[in-house]
């Protein structure tokens, strides 16, 4: 029974997907079906979330299903946030006409979420690879979902090509491990990696490359801006948050299971990667004129900040990474939600589309304010404490210079985030009266925005308990 309970979120996700496929044909008229399926998906995800919280909380970490998954606090915490992110994304879907009308979109979303849940708990190379593919394939399709839109098609195709390539690299690394050790369970590999040989180093590089793509680390970040820009905005939001967090979950688990982190050289390599990722992401973001691309580069930079915590690793390192990811998932979902609404009304993601937004919809502008200030790392929003904790962990582990790099980067970040707020609050629409051009927000999206804003404030002000969860999750890794 524990066995089944340990994968309760996955089981419920599958059941929900099937339910939606069954419900789909009953709603022939597109107008009637539109609101319904989205609500079902979101509500179903919330039910799954509550059920898991009530009945399927992990006790001591345990390997199940022949070592395929590890049922522990970290996997569980990540799963809960994937379910949450998927629920919010489903609500955002309802606003995009082409996504909302098709049951497939919701089912693919659920399938990707299922994959992510498995990624967070996979403890075996085979399981891990399957989980990553289960996540990626639906996302390839979703990125290219708007068939009549060239950009979306391009995004889907680009994502597929890059994704397939890095998947292959990752798989190659896995196969070398199996070939050399005869083992596939992550927790059996620690002995092998504690020896520093040429082959073990190259394998680590191969795996790192595969994961770097998932979390868009430098130099595997090139796909992100193009894909985010072309993909339907809610999908881009999902890609940049849940999918990235899942990548980090895998990275953290791999590092902790194989003890690679013990080596100072690997920490140093990761520190360099973090520096480059932050700096490149932020500097290129400065030059953007399209909010979606700006968010794409900013999300690259944020992967860098989170990686600072991974470098610190021990002490507050892992809890701070997990906290950072939670804060980042909420914040970026909100930012993409705003972009999605503006994009739907104005048909553009360029800066001029945002001119005068605060006069067109004051509430939406406040949501944007919360999102961008939280991204910039300003209190009382989640981004501030998240960043501070990451820097705390860096200073604690003796990486003072890395903390300085992070701090300097967040100054650059502040500049371009404030610029967006300037367009929203200060600039006026050209030769037009804003009162005549309101930006309406539908009910599901309003619900999602409110939940996210409240979440960001909660995380940013009452951060103690949340950091407690993150710490519990991190200690469950060992």
């Amino acid at each position: 029974m524990t066995n089944l309970l340990s994968i309760l979120p996955e089981v419920l996700l599958l059941a929900l997907g099937v339910l939606i496929l069954i419900l789909d044909p009953f709603f022939k008229k597109e107008t009637a079906r539109r609101p319904f399926l989205g609500w079902v998906t979101a509500a179903g995800l919330l039910v799954a979330l509550t059920m898991s919280l009530l009945f399927a909380r992990p006790a001591a970490p345990v390997l199940l299903f022949g070592g395929m998954v590890r049922f522990d606090g970290m996997g569980f915490l990540f799963k809960m946030f994937f379910l949450f992110a998927a629920a919010v994304t489903a609500l955002f879907f309802m606003d995009e006409e082409k996504l909302a009308r098709r049951a497939e979109a919701y089912v693919l979303l659920l399938a990707a979420t299922l994959g992510m849940c498995l990624m967070a708990s996979a403890a075996d190379l085979v399981m891990l690879y399957l989980a990553i593919e289960t996540t990626s394939i639906p996302l390839y399709i979703l990125a290219g979902f708007l068939r009549n839109d060239d950009k979306s098609t391009e995004a889907g195709f680009k994502y597929l090509l890059f994704g397939a390539l890095t998947s292959a690299i990752l798989l190659y690394g896995f196969s070398l491990i199996y070939g050399l050790t005869g083992k596939t369970n992550l927790y059996d590999l620690s002995l092998y990696f504690s020896n520093f040989t040429l082959i073990s180093i190259s394998i680590t590089f191969l795996i790192l490359a595969g994961l770097a793509f998932k979390i868009s680390l430098f130099p595997f970040h090139f796909w992100a801006p193009d894909v985010y820009e072309g993909a339907p905005t809610p999908i881009a939001g999902f890609l940049s948050t849940a999918s990235k967090a899942a990548g980090f979950a895998v990275l953290i688990r791999l590092l902790s299971a194989t003890f690679i982190w013990v080596s100072a050289d690997w920490s140093f390599i990761l520190a360099i990667l973090a520096t480059l990722t932050m700096t490149v992401g932020n500097l290129i973001a400065l030059a953007q004129k399209n909010v979606k691309r700006l968010l794409a580069y900013s999300s690259i930079a944020h992967a860098g900040y989170a990686l600072v915590g991974v470098v610190a690793f021990m002490g507050w390192g892992l809890p701070s990474v997990i906290f950072y990811l939670i804060a980042y998932v909420l914040t970026n979902l909100l930012a993409f939600g705003v972009v999605s609404i503006v994009g739907r009304v104005t048909g553009s993601e360029e800066f001029p589309a945002y001119y005068g937004l605060s006069r067109r919809n004051a509430g939406l502008s406040l949501a944007a304010l919360v999102a961008f200030l939280s991204l910039a790392g300003m209190p009382p929003f989640a981004g501030f404490v998240a960043k501070v904790f990451v820097f705390v962990s860096a200073v604690q582990s003796g990486w003072v210079w890395l903390a300085f790099v992070g701090v300097l980067n967040s100054i650059v970040g502040l500049y371009y985030y404030l610029n967006v707020l300037k367009y929203i609050y200060l600039y006026r629409m050209e030769n037009q009266d804003e009162e005549q051009h309101p930006v309406p927000v539908s009910r599901p999206v309003t619900a999602a925005l409110i939940v996210l804003v409240v979440g960001i404030l909660l995380l940013g002000i009452v951060f103690g308990p949340w950091f407690g969860f993150a710490t519990q999750a991190a200690t469950a890794l060992f």
């Binding site: 006069r359 406040l366 009382p380 820097f391 701090v407 404030l418 707020l421 609050y425 200060l426």
Partner: protein, 491 residues
């Protein structure tokens, strides 16, 4: 358990800001009255805290402590001492008068008052926090609304530039201090951000010497210290009236205060070591600020640079590290706060009517605007340190403090600034308010409304009241200084 005065003072403005944001944008009247009511409550509470503070007992009072994050040793720890309690009062006064002065804002008043109140919460929080982490938390909260307030409601010509410049300067300063604070946290080995505990951490002299400068200067950026003062005149000028008042009146104190709390009080050895450098920088502030102010033709820039000069006196007073200097600096923070708030209020009133701030183009405003004229004159007298006004009470001890150090000659140089200040403030007062009024303003200058009058009278009352009865503030500051001197080892 007594009534949690400090928590209420700190969180009330933010709570009211949230309530205001729930109003409909069209309810402009309700928004203004709510803001005014909240400002009045904050003023009354801060008065209460000020007068209920037991100066015979000294030390930290009104202490409240709630565990916020025990794992990292973060707590919501409020308390005020003789140094911060006048600043709480100052914030209450400026917040209340700021609301009065902003009565006429027509463009999105809902957002304006909400941001202003979030800013106020941050400022109160910094003055009341005894926890280093929370101090940063509130410090940053006080920074970002500034950007929006200046960028949205500021002076069209320079607001974008000035707002961004100001925000980036302050952010850079604060994050550098933040790193210093984190290093202090880990070096102390106490696993707490509680400043009362950190003050007893016995950091080694080398550590203190290394980290004092980044921490002190990082905060002092907001105090306008040379060579990082550049943002401040631009920021003051671009900001709308109430925000300039808040900014010069309270926010710059925030920097000086945090530099004192975190820099000098936690790293006293470092402070002793670097005191000559800080004094020299402050001297540049004082003299250079005064000279630059005297050649400005823009009314608001005059006041902006005079703030740089006066805040230099505050930094100077702290850097003397002796009793007189510190008492003077503590008083100067309050005195300059109300004075500069008054100045900016008057500038705002003139500008709103004349639509220019070029001093040569103004004149004869005393007839339509008698009260602002009196206000400007009183402010000028305070500014030049005339006995009988609060400026004298504050500046005289500072000069005595400088005289008491090895670098007594600095007092002579700094005294030059008093002469320069007297010349330019009186000149400005004469040109703007007296003489012949240019023909184009004839009959166009409307009188100020009752809200403006209340604000002006309140601010003037403080300057004259403290000037005539120093006992209304000096004993408070003295108790605070005694504590600091104890940390400095009786130096």
């Amino acid at each position: 358990m007594q009534f949690p005065f400090l928590s209420v003072i700190v969180f009330l403005p933010a709570a009211v800001a949230l309530v205001i944001l729930l109003y409909k944008p069209e309810w402009k009247k309700a928004i203004r009255w709510t803001a005014l009511a909240a400002g009045l409550v904050a003023l009354v509470l801060s008065f209460w805290v000020y007068f209920a503070y037991d100066k015979a007992a000294g030390g930290y009072q009104f202490i409240e402590k709630y565990d916020w994050m025990p794992m990292l040793g973060i707590s919501l720890h409020f308390g005020v001492d003789g140094m911060s309690v006048p600043l709480i009062l100052l914030t209450g006064v400026v917040m209340f008068t700021g609301v009065l002065i902003s009565w006429g804002i027509e463009d999105r008043p809902r957002e304006f008052f909400a941001f202003l109140f979030i800013l106020a919460s941050g400022v109160f929080g910094v003055f009341a926090s005894l926890d280093l982490f929370m101090l940063f938390f509130f410090y940053e909260i006080a920074v970002f609304p500034m950007y929006l307030l200046i960028a949205i409601w500021g002076w069209v010509r320079t607001r974008e530039y000035a707002a961004m410049k100001l925000t980036l300067y302050l952010f850079v300063g604060s994050v550098i201090s933040l790193i210093g604070a984190l290093v202090m946290y880990f070096t102390s080995g106490q696993h707490t951000f509680d400043m009362l505990v950190l003050a007893t951490a016995q950091f080694t002299p080398e550590f203190q010497k290394t980290w004092f400068l980044p921490v002190f200067l990082g905060f002092a950026v907001l105090g306008g210290i040379f060579p990082f003062h550049n943002w401040s005149p631009d920021g003051h000028v671009a900001a709308p009236t109430a925000v300039s008042m808040f900014h010069a009146g309270v926010l710059m104190k925030l920097g000086a205060f945090a530099a004192l709390r975190v820099g000098i009080m936690l790293l006293p050895e470092g402070a002793k070591f670097w005191s000559p450098l800080i004094m020299s920088l402050a001297l540049v502030n004082i003299v250079y600020g005064a000279f630059i102010a005297s050649v400005q033709t823009d009314f608001k820039y005059v006041i902006g640079f005079s703030s740089v000069s006066h805040m230099g006196l505050v930094a100077m007073g702290f850097a003397t590290l002796n009793r007189d200097g510190m008492i003077g600096a503590g008083l100067q923070m309050f005195s300059h706060g109300v004075m500069t708030a008054l100045f900016f209020a008057v500038v705002g009133m003139v500008y709103d009517r004349a639509h220019t701030r070029e001093i040569p183009k103004l004149g004869g405003m005393v007839k339509p605007l008698p009260l602002p004229a009196i206000g400007l004159i009183v402010g000028s007298l305070v500014s030049m340190g005339m006995p009988g006004f609060s400026g004298f009470i504050a500046e005289f001890p500072i000069f005595r403090g400088i005289w008491g150090t090895e670098r007594w000659w600095m007092a002579i140089i700094a005294a030059v600034s008093i002469v320069v200040t007297a010349s330019y403030v009186l000149l400005v007062a004469r040109k703007v308010f007296f003489g012949a009024m240019p023909a184009e303003f004839e009959g166009h200058i409307s009188p100020i409304n009752v809200f403006d009058k209340i604000a002006l009278v309140l601010l003037m009352a403080f300057m004259i009241g403290i000037g005539l009865f120093p006992a209304l503030m000096v004993p408070w500051v003295q108790t605070g200084v005694d504590r600091i001197l104890a940390l400095l080892g009786g130096a």
